[in-house]
Amino acid sequence: MTDVTSTDATTTPWTTIPSPNQPFAPAHPAQPHRGVPGGVGTSARRPDGIPKVKGEFAYSSDLWAEGMLHGATVRSPHPYARIVSIDTSVAKSMDGVRAVLVADDVPGAKVYGMEHDDQPVLAWDVVRYHGESVAIVAAEDPETARRAADAVVVSYQELDPIVDPEFAISGDAPELHEGTGNITRHVKIRHGEQDVSAPVVVTGRYEMGMQDQAFLGPESGMVLPGVDGGVDIFVATQWMHVDRGQVAKCLGLPEDQVRITLAGVGGAFGAREDLSMQVHASMLALHTNRPVRMVYSREESFFGHVHRHPAWMEYEHGATEEGDLVYVKVRVLLDGGAYTSSSTAVAGNAGRFSIGPYECPNATIDSIVAYTNNPPCGAMRGFGAVQVALGHEAQMDKLAAKLGMDPVDLRIRNAMSQGSVMPTGQVVHNPAPVRELLEAVRDAPHRELPVVGERDVIDIRQLPGGAANSTHGEDVRRGVGYGVGFKNVGFAEGFDDYSTARVTLSRGAEGPIVSVHHAASEVGQGLVTICMQIARTELPVGPAIVLPADTQVGSAGSSSASRQTYMTGGAVKQSCELVRSELLDRAAGHVGVARAGLRLADDGTIRNAADGILLDDVTELLSTPIEIEREFRHRETFPMDPERGQGDADVQFAFAAHRAVVDVDAGLGIVRVLDMATAQDVGKAMNPQQLEGQIEGGTSHGVGLALMEEIQVVGGKVRNPSFTDYLIPTVLDMPTVQMTIMELGDPEAPYGVRGVGEPPSISSTPAIAAAVRDATGVAITRVPIRPDDIVFGA
């Protein structure tokens, strides 16, 4: 266990590695060396890799402190109910129980939220979803805490839950939040002519189930009561500064008395953007004046975070006989569940990206998100663009079929490119290689695949059903499908999006050392590696280290929206450049030459305009350290106007395409994905090995969404909160992903980078749905595709 009260170096979630670090990528051709060893463009190793493989990395569930208590949460078994009474007397009287707290014990604001303060810290009057927090307990050991939570007697008067979002917004349903109606947001986008007709029309209705992020490391953390009456929080989170604001408000403390340090994060994917145990453990720590640890079980984790919004989508596409889009009409309905979370931003994305990366002169788009008594939904990888990609891509296939065109040709014919206009009126100023991506996946080589045919198979493990021995090849049909998608990188719609980095160049025991300090969450994506690579590239004078992320430096924004390499990477680059400039100033003064023409070379020497070495060691310039802390901002974005949705809402777009090849056992409805080919423009491959990992991992989320992942909500109740019943892809479900990486470069972004985390999760799902359609002839209008949909589908 990692003692968080110790100042020992092992409390830092990752260790430092010396620079230069030798890149090594065994399974792929050696990566070209570009510039500084271990710098930008190399497959530098993760600095947290060694502790992770040794089992020494301190995840948020591994923390320990002397005298710590264990927290547990009492949660509502009902999706909608009035709380009649809460009796904590039995729980409080149990041996080893140190606190039992309810809503009245919340010291400050009783509600919080990412966008609206509408979610109770602890429910007092009404519970609005299955699993909502009602009371919290601290005890000497986890088992006593759990039993005490069970001993809290909450008397409920059950209410009829509103579980159908269409009913919720119909006007006939009661309001779930007083005075707000049940429409959380209605995004209207009106582009071009609104009453336009076309000779060829296709319509469709599509549906997406509720996906879970299913990170492996459960919500957890430790809170230490501070001597100043504040709290020190060690937690796995995506955005500690927004956590801090919410926690401080709920505790009634000034923000500087809420100090947050990132503990090791076991995956995130959007699920750690909202608070989980932060306020609860803080309340228990302040109440007992003892450290409190809270670790959710897997079952509790399904209730402890928001999920991907389920969606119901209606599309109408009009086109010319030649296949040019004339208009698109879309209505997207998202189920936001009981509280807002980031629903309004998700609805904005679902609207802006609803017609896909295509040029279309006319569009009528309505994206609506509703309050219901279902589990709250919010951020998940792809954030609104995932839902609509199922719809716009199914429609393109349908239109191609009606026109008798090849589906890829139809897409290419209508593909957005640099200079295209979004439905919001925004001009796409930077490369938008939609045609090139589609061509790349269409032309990707087909792998050698198992031969389909009755008893004509070498290894049944390669067939749908695999070792379950459900077919030997009979009734197995192959299909190929395509998908392309896009979304924004960074925060949109006028949000003041920035990141902060503090870079210090100082003299260490063995020479100059570069320290990078930021508050950005390393969630597994490899941001710490990227920041070190940038520091090595910009300041190649000694080893670079990345300090633990905490609130002692300014906000980095969230590790979401595929934004951290752009934003925190940009902040690190900018601060490094300023440090370098100061270093050159000092060099000029030290040697007594003019500053102009001096530069810091890749070998760490300072050279003059004639490339002669002025100084081969900068150590002597560092009698005092050089420290720079700056905020980095991307180009300003603007709100969409409420009536027509017009506005330059986005800073950067990221595109990806997939081709899926599937075998379907048509008799049993079992699908096996044989091959995924993808193409993505990444602007700049900052770390090729990590990049591949993002694309492979993102694709696996799309495979899961297409074929197996759905939170089953029946009457507002979650029926499958476990990894036995909520299935995510195993190594048997994931094919090798072949990929084409394009580096077209966004001139506005640091190094030309384009966010890479989300696009693979957008285009993979519709490609698989298309492949299953191709194999079976079944319409497939819903994901995840269930066996019944195939066997009994039309």
């Binding site: 060694i50 990395f57 050991d141 995956g267 897997r298 493990r461 190594v731």
Partner: protein, 169 residues
């Protein structure tokens, strides 16, 4: 209760173990070996994979008392004290990029180590079957498969790094 067992080659006594505890809880909370991870507590994810008398088990499905007198190997037993002192499978995960958030990594490493000790040159189909009890949410598995291929190659050509911790073969 008190449990006496061998862990990573040393005989240890765990005192005051809650009788309802799993081997995983005992390792993590009583024996201060948090390398084995708890991600599902019902044997679905493999994050807590350890070797018990040489067999791969989910530590969350073994009662602490069942480990009495047994020989347990955990991820901590595959490496030495030094920062770079890691076992060959661990090194292969680092080199192949098989680690992202890393929560599944200790379990995968135990499963791969077990696989390669029985099947030094597994086909991809065999590897996939052997690792199908371990969930990873970050990597899409390809880099983990790369790590298996790399570790197998290195063992075959004798270039595997020494395993100071003495992984059980």
């Amino acid at each position: 209760m008190k449990v006496t067992l061998r862990v990573n080659g040393q005989t240890v006594e765990a005192e005051g173990v809650w009788p309802g505890a799993s081997l995983l809880t005992m390792l993590r909370d009583d024996l201060e070996l948090p390398g084995s991870k708890n991600a599902c507590e019902q044997g679905e994810c493999g994050s807590c994979s350890v070797l018990m008398d040489g067999e791969l088990v989910c530590a969350c499905l073994v009662q602490a008392g069942q480990a009495e007198g047994r020989d347990i190997r955990t991820v901590e037993g595959l490496s030495g004290e030094g920062d770079g002192d890691v076992g060959d499978v661990q090194q292969a995960f680092l080199d192949a990029g098989g680690v992202q958030c890393g929560f599944c990594t200790p379990g995968f490493i135990m499963a791969v180590d077990h696989l390669l000790s029985h099947e030094p040159a597994p086909s991809d189909e065999t590897t996939r079957e052997a690792l199908s009890g371990n969930l990873c949410r970050c990597t899409g598995y390809e880099k983990i498969l790369d790590a298996v291929r790399l570790a197998a190659e290195r063992r075959a050509d004798g270039s595997a790094v020494a395993t100071t911790g003495g992984a059980q073969r």
